[in-house]
């Protein structure tokens, strides 16, 4: 459980004509992590793909291009297609589709571009219609130049100021102006200059004769006709899509699996007459690999376990995490960081134990906890149907929400930021007007005084944080000790000294802290035997024992590392900051609780109190919005902070990561299914 699945290295050797069957059987088994053969020997070469590979990859190429043309990326077919049907029908379907789809898609392109062309023409014609001259008058003069176009700014005045004999007409068009100008060729230069500085866009009449209106009418009719044809083509494509989508997706999947198998020999060592497949198998499944090979491939294939030196196994074996079912979702967080090394402890079970606890403490609210559980449930059941990631995340949120609700119900006594009973500070003054479910909403929840009030017992929350820091990091250091033990005794011993220093820091913090009943209990539990041995130092109690423990640790570093210990010494400060870092549990809890209570206070006192019906409706709306804000911000930050405490403060005590994940030969069918023949 604590270490990844143990692996054993296996070689499968047999006659080359059986390679095909052997690979197929391994794919069916879904247990064999193949090690790519790197060719070194001229006699033993990398295998060649199976003969059908070429044909399959051509099929795939065409299937994929059809799938792209039909936009099948997000298509969810409602039935699976059997392999038998795929093999019977795909070839014919591909030929038909290839022809039809290509033709229809080309048609669609042509239609679209013609429609675009006509629309642009109509835009231009509209301007000529407004100018009001027949189109042939704009063309073919020997002594005149004609300019037509659109411009952002009016050029009427500048044209008139030119003083040259000029026919100029300007009309407003859209956001700018449209104009036509007729001038003598000899005056063209100055007209051109004005146009160039006005940022104009030239327009040529699209037809040589006739009136603009007639052309517009004809174009509009043609566009309508084309649009009809386009709709027909679209629905024909849609019909093809509906008819063939399931088959195309299933065939694409099936042939992808086939091509993987056909190309697998590229990872295998072969000689003229034999093959050897090298790879890793979980030790517990080694026998079933042997049995399957004997049954399906035959007696002339040998399955041998290869003896591997331990350090080589540690370096090369793939990592398959092995956790009980309830902890599995939390593998998501470990994989997100990095796959553990084969020789390392797999921290999933610890993340499982700690993450919901920290998350729950930070949220600590029955209402938000219940909402989170609901959200987690939806993620798990709805979104998780198609995605493993969502399924796992949903379960994690569900667990976190459960703890948040429990802490809210049993420890903090509040829901949606509103305490069950009025919160009194220790002078007996109600906090924030004494809002509560009991006084504000008239709902009495028969649970006595809260064991801990977020806004009053902050020091107790700090004490919880420090205790969590000590336990969590101690576990981290113990795991580090275990990881290093087989690797380097010296490094393992360093972890022990870190444990001693950590306890010293923890005890010293307890000595300095004051004013929290929980701290007093912790102090009596851990420090009572040396409570009296203190040196008072400017108002602080320095414990002789705690400081001695830290010094023992330091001495240990020097004994182990000599001069190198200086580096470790610096790390004591980071260990201290790690401990303080856990107070984020208290910080998020208090900040979120205070934010929610403040919002509730604002709405209840300023919007609900007056009795004005409009203010009350507005208030209810604002209240929901603000609650959503607190809920979203709180859940997000609590999640990230709980994750961070695991990643930074905990993992860095023992974790290296960077292992190779176990990826056995195999496949999952989503759209196709194996037919029983």
């Amino acid at each position: 459980m604590i270490k990844p699945e143990r692996m054993s290295r296996i070689a499968i050797v047999g006659p080359r004509k059986k390679l095909d069957v052997a690979i197929r059987s391994l794919y069916e088994l879904n247990l064999f992590h193949i090690v790519d053969y790197v060719s070194e020997d001229p006699e033993v070469k990398i295998g060649v793909p199976l003969p059908q590979a070429n044909e399959i990859s051509q099929k795939l190429l065409r299937l994929r291009s059809i799938a792209r043309a039909l936009h099948l990326d997000n298509y969810k077919p409602n039935k699976k297609v059997t392999v038998g049907e795929i093999e019977r029908t795909t070839a014919q379907a591909v030929v038909t589709l290839d022809l039809e789809v290509t033709k229809k898609i080309e048609n669609r392109l042509t239609l679209n571009s013609r429609i675009r062309e006509l629309t642009t023409q109509n835009d231009a014609l509209e301007i000529f219609r407004e100018i009001g001259l027949p189109l042939d008058l704009f063309l073919d003069y020997e002594t005149l130049n004609v300019y037509t176009g659109v411009s952002q700014e009016s050029i009427d005045e500048r044209m008139k100021a030119l003083g040259a004999p000029l026919e100029f007409l300007e009309i407003s068009h859209g956001a700018g102006f449209a104009f036509s100008a007729f001038c003598k060729k000899s005056d063209a230069g100055s007209v051109q200059e004005i146009l160039n500085t006005s940022g104009y866009q030239e327009l040529k009449p699209p037809y040589k004769s006739g009136a603009a209106e007639e052309h517009i009418l004809a174009n509009t009719q043609e566009i309508e006709k084309l649009q009809k044809t386009l709709t027909n083509e679209e629905s024909a494509i849609e019909a093809l899509r509906e008819k063939y989508a399931a088959l195309i997706l299933a065939s694409e999947e099936h042939y992808s699996i086939e091509i993987q198998q056909a190309e697998a020999p590229l990872r295998v060592a072969t000689t003229l007459n034999s093959f050897a497949i090298d790879g890793w198998v979980p030790i517990s499944s080694a026998d079933s690999v042997r049995r399957t090979m004997a049954e399906k491939v035959g007696d002339d294939v040998a399955v041998e376990m290869l003896p591997v030196p331990k350090h080589e196994e540690d370096e090369q074996a793939p990592v398959k995490l092995r956790n009980p079912r309830f902890a599995k979702p939390f593998e998501l967080f470990v994989e997100l960081m990095s796959t553990p090394l084969y020789r390392e402890v797999d921290p999933t079970i610890f993340v499982f134990a700690v993450f919901p606890l920290f998350f729950g403490l930070m949220i600590g609210d029955f209402g938000y906890g219940a909402c989170l559980m609901l959200a987690g449930f939806v993620m798990w059941k709805k979104l998780g149907k198609d995605s493993e990631g969502w399924r796992k995340l949903g379960l994690i949120v569900l667990a976190g929400g459960l703890f948040a609700a429990l802490f809210g119900l049993l420890l903090f006594h509040d829901a949606f930021g509103l305490p069950f009973h009025p919160v009194l500070d220790e002078r007996g003054v109600p906090v924030l007007g004494g809002l509560s479910w009991e006084t504000t909403m008239g709902i009495y929840i028969p649970l006595g005084e809260a064991p801990m009030e977020k806004l009053v017992d902050v020091k107790d929350l700090l004490a919880i944080s420090v205790l969590a820091a000590w336990i969590h990091m101690s576990v981290g250091l113990i795991l580090g000790f275990r990881n290093e033990l087989s690797h380097s005794r010296k490094h393992a011993a360093t972890k022990v000294f870190w444990l001693v220093i950590l306890f010293g820091l923890f005890a010293q913090i307890l000595f300095m802290a004051k004013g929290s009943p929980l701290r007093d209990t912790l102090f009596m539990t851990f420090c009572s035997s040396f409570a009296g041995m203190v040196i008072p130092f400017s108002g602080l109690n320095l414990s002789i024992v705690a400081l001695s423990l830290i010094l023992i640790g330091v001495a240990g570093f020097f004994a182990l590392h000599g001069k190198g210990a200086m580096m470790e010494l610096m790390e004591i400060l980071s260990l201290l900051s790690n401990v303080i870092s856990y107070t984020r549990i208290a910080a998020i809890g208090v900040a979120k609780g205070a934010m929610a209570l403040a919002f509730n206070y604002i709405v209840v006192t300023y919007l609900f109190a007056g009795g004005n019906i409009f203010l009350i409706i507005a208030g209810a709306f604002v209240l929901v919005l603000l609650q959503l804000l607190v809920f979203a911000l709180g859940s997000l930050s609590a999640g990230i902070q709980a994750l961070r405490l695991n990643y930074v403060e905990f993992f860095l005590k023992f974790y290296t990561g960077g292992g190779v994940s176990f990826e056995p030969l195999g496949y999952k069918r989503k759209y196709s299914e194996k037919s029983e023949v």
């Binding site: 960081m337 500070d425 902050v458 020091k459 900051s577 961070r644």
Partner: protein
Amino acid sequence: MDPGLIAIGAGLAIGLAGVGTGIAQAGAGAAAVGATAEDPKMFGKGIIFMALPETIVIFGFVIAILLYAGMGGFAGG
């Protein structure tokens, strides 16, 4: 000492620490997002680098709480 001054000190402690964290996270966060965009496997490491400076504001929080308690804010200090 005047409790008002202590309260201002507590506010400054957490406020300035927050500003410091913000400045530190701006750089780390932008780089982390960039790295994750290139390789989604960097997400975990990105979160770590992103969350590292947050300890600064936690220091501010602790000091603020200690000051607040010292002036009798929780009445038990």
